[in-house]
């Protein structure tokens, strides 16, 4: 029961966040200086006639008061209608739908590399000899501080142009996915691993770890069976960071590796001032954030008994 109540509360909060994000972006567009109708028709250079402008204003409800525009926008959103792209002459949902597969594959591949790598490195290096820890933490700091596109450049120069193991870009086949996915994974790994390793080192100094050792448990089992679960809990609060890193990183990585996807769509929309698409992507990322957090929250209740029973 407690779990159900918790899920419902979180769901309510999530819907609130989505509504807030929708309102915020709507306000931003509503309040920008300049003529939206002109923007829709291709900017001042398009030189539209007065009739076309009036027609567009009527079509997009731009001549209506704020509350009508806002109401119609929310109403459309509820029906899954994100509006019409100014440039692509497509519904925004469709434009995003065409690209989402490629980015989802990239993100999934990056997570599949980053998480095992993070956990393995943290478990093996926490509280080891000083030289091990300084090498590992040095690598982590460098990776965390390096902008994602630089990591991509390095991989590109070494593995595509140097060793010629992987193609330099594109969406064709698994080989083209490898470098972009590793780029994103390394960017996530650098930060996540620092946090997990620090947590593990703190947990390993807790008395219950000493108790486990005093029962005759060996070092690696102690780390995996006892310490890891405790260290994973604070790391789970980093999910927001991971989602942001993957989505944000996809903009850069897709540009660098000339890939299709949400990231390159977002960038193209910014170049073209195609606001409905940008807003659609923002709402999508907020929705992903909300859903992922909901899942993480459920995982919490599985891992930490205090969440439910306290």
């Amino acid at each position: 029961m407690a779990v159900l109540r918790r899920v419902l509360t979180r769901l309510g909060v999530g819907i609130g966040v989505l509504w807030g994000a929708a309102t915020l972006t709507f306000l931003a567009v509503y309040l920008i200086p300049g003529d939206t109708a002109l923007l829709i028709l291709g900017g001042p250079d398009a030189r539209p006639t007065a009739e076309t402008l009036a027609q567009v204003r009527a079509d997009y409800l731009l001549d209506q008061p704020f509350i009508v525009q806002y109401g119609s926008y929310l109403g459309n959103l509820l029906q899954g209608d994100l509006g019409q792209s100014y440039r692509l002459r497509l519904p925004v949902a469709e434009a995003i739908g065409q690209q989402i597969g490629a980015t989802a594959a990239l993100a999934a591949a990056a997570v599949a590399v980053a998480l095992p790598l993070t956990f393995a490195v943290a478990i093996l290096s926490a509280q080891r000899a000083a030289w091990v820890r300084s090498i590992v933490s040095g690598v982590e700091v460098v990776l965390a501080a390096t902008p994602t596109f630089i990591i991509g450049f390095v991989l590109l120069i070494v593995f595509s142009f140097g060793l010629r193991w992987f193609p330099i870009g594109g969406n064709q086949g698994l080989a083209a996915l490898v470098l972009p996915a590793i780029t994103l994974a390394l960017a996530v790994f650098g930060t996540l691993s620092q946090v997990l390793r620090n947590e593990l080192e703190d947990v390993l100094e807790q008395p219950f770890i000493l108790t486990a050792r005093s029962r005759g448990m060996r070092d690696l089992p102690v780390r995996i069976r006892h310490a890891l679960r405790h260290a994973a809990i604070p790391v789970m609060t980093m999910t927001g960071f991971v989602v942001a890193a993957l989505l944000g990183g996809s903009v850069v990585v897709e540009t660098l590796f000339s890939r299709q996807g949400i990231g390159s769509l977002a960038l193209a929309s910014v170049y073209n001032k195609d606001l409905p698409v940008i807003i659609g992507i923002v709402l999508l990322s907020a929705a992903v954030y909300v859903v992922v957090n909901l899942v993480v929250d459920l995982l919490y209740t599985l891992i930490d008994p205090k969440v439910v029973t306290a």
Partner: protein, 306 residues
């Protein structure tokens, strides 16, 4: 990280043990303190300091380090490999990469400091507003921050640029606006901690007026960890600025900016890789040095937080 690698906002130390419970005398020699936090002169710190000195020189007196004009082109010497005449090589228009890198330092630092200043000023204002006022104000502000946190910083920056357009100043605004929520959350958490701390209570029992406690105890103790984290934030913001320029949304091309140089160099990566390696190396070295210094500041501050 693409935009702003905020390692952790857990500057907040664990709460004091509940009073009234027996606090067992800690045995300092007990559970083998493995982590030596003694300060030795660490090579990383030294390297970072030396590099930052070079960076300061490049910002303040670029002509001393590279007297040539960063905008000068010479089609006759395009794609010259690094050597005695052009230390870091030349690009497609024959411009000297070393000169452009030196002169680009100022732009990078301008973006980093500018964006962080916007984030810190906005964030602490919002955070103090939330932390010092009643529950209703606090709840509203926090819900608003929840919304902005749900949108990745780089997307937030893209929205801002999509609306107001690109360019150096707009990039600063976009990056700074994206980091306000981060600083606001830290400020609020820290404000709560300080307000409930024993030393604020002790000052109240001395009969000090509320405004003096706010100015002498609360605000300084809230700001200290925020400013320490802001140092690390400058590094992240520089990386973010370069990322935006790389995407063609920040500083526009002819200007000597590292991200823009990398974006241009991308087209010649197979025949002139030095157009990538040198700007990339300086960008990474800058972000890394600032991060290393910032982490050292944080490490020193950690023991002294309330």
């Amino acid at each position: 990280m693409s935009l702003a690698s905020r390692t952790s906002d857990t500057v907040v130390p664990p709460a004091a043990p509940p009073a009234g419970h027996r606090a067992p005398p800690a045995d300092p020699a007990g559970p083998a303190p493995v982590r030596h936090r003694r300060s030795r002169i660490r090579p990383g710190l030294l390297l970072a300091s030396v590099f930052l000195l070079w960076l300061a020189a490049a910002v303040l007196v670029p002509d001393l380090l590279a007297p040539a004009d960063p905008y000068a082109v010479d089609p006759g010497r395009s794609f010259e490999a690094p050597g005695a005449s052009a230390w870091f090589g030349t690009d497609d228009s024959g411009a000297d990469a070393y000169t452009r890198i030196v002169h680009g330092a100022a732009t990078s630092l301008y973006i980093g400091v500018g964006a962080t200043a916007i984030g810190v000023v906005g964030g602490t204002a919002v955070g103090l507003l939330a932390g010092l006022n009643g529950r209703f104000v606090e709840a509203s502000v926090m819900r608003f921050l929840d919304v902005t946190l749900a949108i990745p910083e780089i997307l937030l920056a893209l929205v801002v640029i999509g609306i107001i357009g690109g360019g150096t100043e707009n990039a600063i605004l976009a990056i700074g606006a994206g980091s306000i929520a981060y600083y606001a959350r830290i400020t609020r958490a820290q404000t709560h901690l300080v307000r409930r701390s024993g030393f604020v209570e002790a000052a109240r029992t001395l009969g000090l007026p509320a405004w003096r406690i706010l100015l002498t105890h609360t605000v300084p103790n809230v700001m200290k960890p925020v400013l320490v984290l802001a140092t690390i934030g400058i590094g992240s913001a520089i990386g973010a600025g370069a990322s935006l320029s790389f995407l063609g949304l920040g500083t526009p091309p002819p200007a000597p900016e590292w991200g823009a140089m990398l974006s241009a160099g991308r087209n010649f990566i197979s025949n002139a890789p030095w157009l990538i390696t040198f700007p990339a190396a300086f960008l990474v070295a800058t972000v890394l040095s600032i991060t290393v210094i910032g982490r050292e500041l944080r490490r020193r501050a950690e023991g002294r937080l309330p």
